[in-house]
């Protein structure tokens, strides 16, 4: 186990290094800089600005400087928001996106696991068909279609919710449902498949023979094994929810890190782009590692490979 974790950590560090290097050089070879959009910048001021941010130094030097300050946990100053550091901006915006993502994931898991389990237990009945139709909808109707349509129906016509904004708890409902919907569908499919396989096994028959109630059989015996496919899906799901929130934050005007990332790329805000890319990479890799460990803990049959 220890060897597995260390080798995975090393692999993640290598991947992270690749991400940082690729992003750093990619954004530097792009035409246009962070200050080209502002009109009234004379060549002198531009030179001063570049000197202030160290952009006049050779590229390799900037790269080393960036890596060094990154080692101290400093993501540098933002080029577009004067007097603000990237660390501050992330500290402001990440909690919003994290809350949205956590709510969406909770919605996806509760709905997906419930539907999937019901579909497996009542296999080939109308419940199963409703669940699989729902699953197909979740896979085929993208969030940027569900989102505007729900806003049109529930917010604009019925007036139950605000169409956009992020103030009170009711403002959390629509964004979380829309973002979670896309992942509830695969979760329910995976749960159904996993549960069907487990429910057919001998130890379930034994439990039944011992007179355990059906509810107890499902919750105490079957779910742990039946949810394994769901656990391995959690890594990609969380990564998808993170990037999916770009769209949701745009639709609902939510001040989260996803919108900040897209805007920073448009603004050529080098440090903010790098900072958010590193943040996403670290989050995704860390979650994948956690998922692998949890998976091993849930099922001793999954052999941990190096």
């Amino acid at each position: 186990m220890f060897r597995f974790i260390t080798s995975r950590l090393l692999q993640s560090l290598l991947a992270l290094f690749l991400v940082i290097t690729a992003t750093f050089f990619m954004i530097r070879f792009v035409p246009g800089g962070p200050f080209t959009a502002e009109k009234a910048v004379t060549p002198e001021i531009l030179r001063n600005l570049e000197a202030h941010y160290g952009l006049d130094r050779p590229l390799w030097r900037q790269y080393l400087d960036y890596l060094l300050s990154l080692g101290r946990g400093d993501l540098g100053p933002s080029f577009k928001y004067p007097n603000r550091t990237v660390n501050e901006i992330i500290g402001d915006k990440l909690p919003v996106s994290a809350e949205l993502g956590a709510l969406a994931l909770a919605f996806a898991l509760v709905i997906g696991i419930t539907l999937g389990t019901l579909a497996a237990v009542y296999r080939n009945t109308w419940i199963d068909y409703v669940a699989s139709t729902f699953g197909m909808m979740g896979i085929s109707i993208p969030t940027f279609v569900v989102g505007p349509l729900l806003v049109l129906g529930l917010a604009i016509h019925l007036g139950w919710f605000n169409a956009s904004g992020w103030y009170g708890p009711p403002d959390r409902v629509l964004p979380a449902i829309v973002l979670g919907f896309a992942y509830a569908a695969p979760v329910s499919r995976l749960t159904r498949g996993g549960m069907l396989e487990i429910l057919g096994q001998d130890f379930i028959r034994t439990a039944r023979a011992k007179g355990a109630s059906e509810l107890r059989i499902i919750t105490r015996h079957a779910l742990r094994g039946g949810l394994l496919p769901v656990v391995s899906f959690l890594g990609p799901a969380v990564a998808g929810i993170l990037t999916g929130s770009f769209v949701i934050e745009t639709i609902f005007q939510i001040p989260g890190i996803g919108r900040e990332f897209v805007n920073s790329a448009f603004n050529r805000d080098y440090t903010l782009v790098l900072g958010t890319v590193i943040l996403y990479a670290v989050l995704i890799m860390a979650l994948n590692l956690v998922v692998d460990i949890v998976q091993a803990w849930m099922n001793p049959k999954v052999r941990l490979e190096e």
């Binding site: 692999q11 954004i27 085929s140 505007p148 890319v277």
Partner: protein, 298 residues
């Protein structure tokens, strides 16, 4: 070849010759109503997008500013957008782009994935370990984020769009092909081909690949909707196809901005896009059942 002629043939079981994998699969697929529905829908949508724009008397960028946004009516069947452009024509042109990007990017992913996976699986050993470790590392990278950066920095270029998308989507194909190749390469007919002195390239492409076409077809069918989603996602963020050209993602984005007053601008593109994705997914699922592929799920 011709359709009516087959109707007069005796039932396939009555024929003496054995039936091929493809024929068997087709018979099973035909029984799956949802898959047939998907296939028919796709054919209709594709033909409409290809032929429709020529039959309609409007261009995709032809503006009638004095008309503005008008609801569906006799002149413009699906209405017009705020610049007075015919929505139906823009929808069909957008379909060409969306379907075209879907097919082209899937083809890129298919080519890279199949060759990469086949090489890794066939040669095995150290080469396989290195190649698959690279895939593992790439899997853990936040790729949609890179695609967004690419499109922001080098965007407004549709070739780049599908190369970028194709480069993201090949990883799973490589894994599937690799595992299939590893299973097939130990079989006797491969040994026979080797004994006959055939070259490695010939064995891979002429003997192994035709035998794993099933999983490749299934996964390809399921990649197309994923690619179309990614394209629409980028267009929705304003990073994909640039105006005045349209794609379904662009139309949905425009419609979402104006839905409070002109709801048809959102509803029609959203419906057509979802219908197409439904059809592709139903067809992919049906093919999976028909070809009886177990490993294509992951």
């Amino acid at each position: 070849m011709s359709v009516p002629a087959t109707a007069t043939l005796p039932a396939p079981e009555a024929l003496e010759q054995g039936s091929s994998l493809g024929h068997d699969a087709w018979l099973r697929l035909r029984k799956n109503q949802l898959a047939v529905f998907g296939l028919v829908c796709l054919a209709v949508v594709a033909v409409l997008c290809l032929v429709g724009p020529w039959l309609l008397p409007y261009g995709y960028e032809e503006q009638k500013l004095e008309l503005g946004a008008s609801p569906p009516g006799a002149m413009h069947w699906l209405g017009t957008d705020t610049l007075g452009r015919d929505l139906l024509v823009r929808l069909l042109y957008g379909g060409r782009i969306s379907l075209g990007v879907g097919l082209a990017a899937t083809f890129v992913a298919l080519t890279i994935g199949v060759v990469y996976g086949a090489v890794a699986g066939f040669f095995g050993g150290k080469l396989d370990a290195v190649l698959m470790r690279i895939v593992d590392i790439m899997y853990s990278l936040p790729f949609p984020i890179f695609v967004i950066l690419l499109m922001v920095f080098f965007g407004k270029n549709i070739i780049l769009l599908f190369v970028a998308i194709g480069a993201v989507e090949w990883l799973t194909m490589a894994r599937i092909v690799r595992s299939q190749v590893m299973a097939v390469k130990r079989m006797e007919f491969i040994e026979a081909a080797r004994a006959l002195g055939f070259g490695k390239r010939r064995i891979i492409f002429r003997h192994i690949l035709p035998n794993i076409l099933g999983p490749i077809i299934v996964y390809t069918t399921l990649t197309i909707p994923a690619v179309m989603l990614l394209e629409a996602f980028l267009s929705f963020l304003g990073l994909g196809v640039q105006p005045p050209m349209s794609s379904w993602g662009v139309l949905i984005k425009d419609g979402a901005e104006k839905m409070e007053e002109f709801s048809w601008l959102l509803v029609f593109p959203a419906a057509l896009f979802s219908l197409t994705l439904f059809s592709l997914n139903f067809l992919g699922d049906g093919l999976r059942d028909a070809l009886d592929v177990r490993s294509s799920k992951d």
